[in-house]
């Protein structure tokens, strides 16, 4: 009976802990959130009231997510399609798949220093802009483009696995019907398999987006900690877009890190506000995926 009671205790304890975390975050963060908060830029200031909002971090998160997915998706799609559909005759597929599996466990911090180190190479300098006042070879290295590429590499194994699973889940009956009608393999894939697998593919991509949005290590090292977008201002004008992407900025995650006592510590309350916004975004993504999956499953019946 002792074991029984211990399990009940663990379960209820966990439940309370969960609720506590959620409630704490909401309480601490909610009074900071306002329309102003979301639409103003952060400003450096020691006075809590003047530290501004989280507009540029939100833009930063959005930019990273968009670019990172853009860079990762074509590779991931191609690799997943190949592994799922073409690789029976190829001996390489096994080791490649194993390698991808194993590497999906590599911590993001390793990708972060990789990104930081490799993009300081002057040959790759078109991806970032020179840091003022630094004269040695390591003058470059931090920008949105750099971070997006690094993010894409980090999230690549994960998306490959998700898409591959989605493709494999398409019943072979569909393929056999198509081949039996004399349709070539690639057309079958393009017109039948991929559309069937689309919900699984979208799920994988959305989960990957969640990963990108929630990652701090790569952003902190490869994007720098500047509160505002440091490209040519005003950043929203199309002629300045490239410059913006070649410069540093911040995302919600680094904003939280920066505003907490671990960073500058100027606005811990704002950190909670940003944290709340971030959690809402990620939870929304995950819940969306859940309901989308359930909706599709019901429709299939």
């Amino acid at each position: 009976m002792l074991g029984h009671a211990a399990c009940w205790l663990s379960g209820l304890l966990t439940l309370f802990l969960l609720l506590f975390i959620v409630i704490f975050l909401v309480i601490k963060g909610i009074h900071v959130i306002s329309w102003d908060f979301i639409t103003t830029n952060p400003k450096p200031s020691l006075d809590q009231n003047l530290t501004g909002g989280i507009f540029t971090p939100i833009i930063g998160t959005f930019l990273l997510v968009a670019l990172g997915t853009l860079f990762a998706l074509p590779w991931a799609l191609a690799t997943a399609i190949y592994l799922a559909e073409y690789s029976e005759e190829n001996l390489w597929a096994g080791p490649i798949r194993t390698g991808i599996d194993i590497l999906s466990g590599v911590p993001t911090i390793v990708f972060a220093i990789f990104g930081l180190a490799i993009f300081t190479n002057p040959h790759l300098s078109l991806f970032s802009t020179m840091v003022e006042g630094v004269t040695n070879a390591k003058a470059f290295g931090r920008s949105f483009i750099v971070s997006s590429i690094t993010m894409a590499m980090m999230v690549l194994p994960f998306i490959i696995k998700s898409i591959e699973e989605a493709i494999k889940a398409v019943p072979s009956a569909y393929r056999e019907a198509a081949y039996g009608m004399g349709i070539s393999k690639w057309r079958t894939i393009r017109k039948i398999v991929l559309p069937s697998a689309i919900s699984g593919i979208i799920t994988g991509v959305v989960l990957g987006i969640g990963r990108i949005a929630g990652d701090t290590a790569i952003v902190w090292l490869c994007l720098g900690g500047s509160m505002t977008l440091t490209g040519t201002q005003p950043w929203w004008q199309p002629q300045n877009w490239l410059a913006t992407l070649q410069n540093t900025g911040s995302t919600l995650t680094t904003y939280i890190f920066y505003s907490s006592p671990a960073g500058e510590g100027n606005s811990p309350d704002k950190a909670f506000g940003a944290g709340l916004v971030l959690i809402v975004i990620i939870l929304a993504l995950n819940t969306l995926v859940d309901y989308w999956g359930r909706y599709r499953a019901l429709r299939e019946e």
Binding site: G3, C7, T79, K138, I160, G182, A213, T253, S260
Partner: protein, 344 residues
């Protein structure tokens, strides 16, 4: 999805003009596409392997110069600042990462202990004991918690756990006593373990719960019909049968814990200190640093080649341990259903 659309995409002419019984060669376009896909696949694999290669090769200068003392000696902070200031033709290459490795091992083990006790109990509770109306919401909550970014756990740790430790567990005289060794301000091994447990707990609970749920019902029925209590059935039949899945979950959680950089950097302190077990329970209150959080803390040093190499050395350790853990986990999750059950 309907297959009626298929008829619209049959090409108008046959792509092969060979006879009825000869095997037609794959059409040219098909082969091109296959080759392109293969190329992209190889490229993305090369990319991934290149990362590994790069990290390890950058680490070699420091690893070669330090040899085994990288693992067995300490003094990271002093060496790092010396290396930062040293001139380029006289680089400091002998680093000692013992406190960092110890920090990683200690925080991860502590978090695993939590997982395998409270976490497992919680998984058993969710799958076997909790009332039916509670099960789904609880499982969804656990899974959503596993998706929360680590920086938020770090924030919670920093704003709740660390002040709590500092106020209630560290008295003024204790800080004074320890002042020669390190500063006790709440950022500590204990805080690291707590935050890490919060982070990897949900992941482990989800996987262990899945393993428990997928044990065949017939074993449970047979055991109960023999007159065993529910608890004994869990201990003697269900858990052994779920063993492989549980171990796979623990390995996955451990991999996540080892690589966690940001949250731990926020709560374990900024000193590469090796906690001394001789201090008794104060051991848990001392600050530590892990391999991963060191990379975050010392990232500005990347402009000096020696420091960069040292950080990559830490990264290599992380990389290799995570790769090893991933490999082990594949062994266990490959046989998810056939756990080992002994009658004894």
């Amino acid at each position: 999805m309907e297959l009626e659309n298929v008829s619209m995409i049959i090409p108008e002419k046959a792509s092969s003009t060979t006879g009825f019984f000869t095997r037609p060669r794959k059409p040219f376009k098909e082969r091109i596409i296959e080759k392109i896909l293969l190329l992209l696949t190889i490229l993305s694999s090369i990319l991934i392997f290149f990362v590994m290669f790069f990290v390890i090769s950058k680490a070699i200068p420091v690893l070669k110069a330090s040899g085994f003392s990288f693992v067995f000696s300490g003094g990271w902070d002093e060496i790092f600042s010396k290396a930062w200031q040293a001139s380029a033709d006289q680089p400091v290459l002998r680093f000692g990462a013992l406190p960092l490795i110890a920090g990683t091992v200690l925080t991860t083990s502590g978090a695993l202990v939590f997982c395998l006790t409270f976490g497992l109990g919680c998984a058993i509770f969710i799958e076997e004991m909790c009332p039916a109306w509670l099960r789904k919401p609880l499982k969804s909550t656990v899974r959503l918690l596993a998706a929360v970014p680590s920086v938020i756990y770090g924030l919670i740790g920093l704003m709740i756990v660390v002040p709590f430790i500092s106020k209630h567990l560290i008295s003024n005289e204790l800080s004074l006593r320890m002042i020669k060794i390190c500063a006790l301000d709440g950022t500590s091994l204990l805080a690291g373990i707590i935050v890490l447990s919060m982070m990897i707990g949900p992941i482990f609970i989800a996987m262990a719960g899945d393993a428990i749920k997928s044990t065949p019902k017939k074993y449970k029925e047979a055991s109960l019909a023999l007159g065993l209590s529910h608890w004994r059935t869990i201990v003697k039949i269900i858990l052994p049968a779920a063993r492989n899945g549980i171990v796979a979950g623990a390995i996955l959680a451990a991999g996540r814990a080892i690589g966690e950089a940001i949250a731990l950097s926020m709560v374990t302190g900024s000193v590469a200190n090796l906690p001394n077990p001789a201090h008794g329970l104060v051991f848990f209150l001392e600050p530590v640093r892990t391999l991963a959080s060191t990379i975050v803390d010392n990232a500005e040093g990347m402009s000096v080649a020696a420091c960069e190499s040292a950080l990559f050395a830490c990264g290599s350790f992380l990389l290799l341990s995570c790769v090893l853990l991933s490999s082990f986990s594949r062994i266990f999750s490959g046989n998810l259903r056939t756990g080992g059950v002994s009658g004894k």
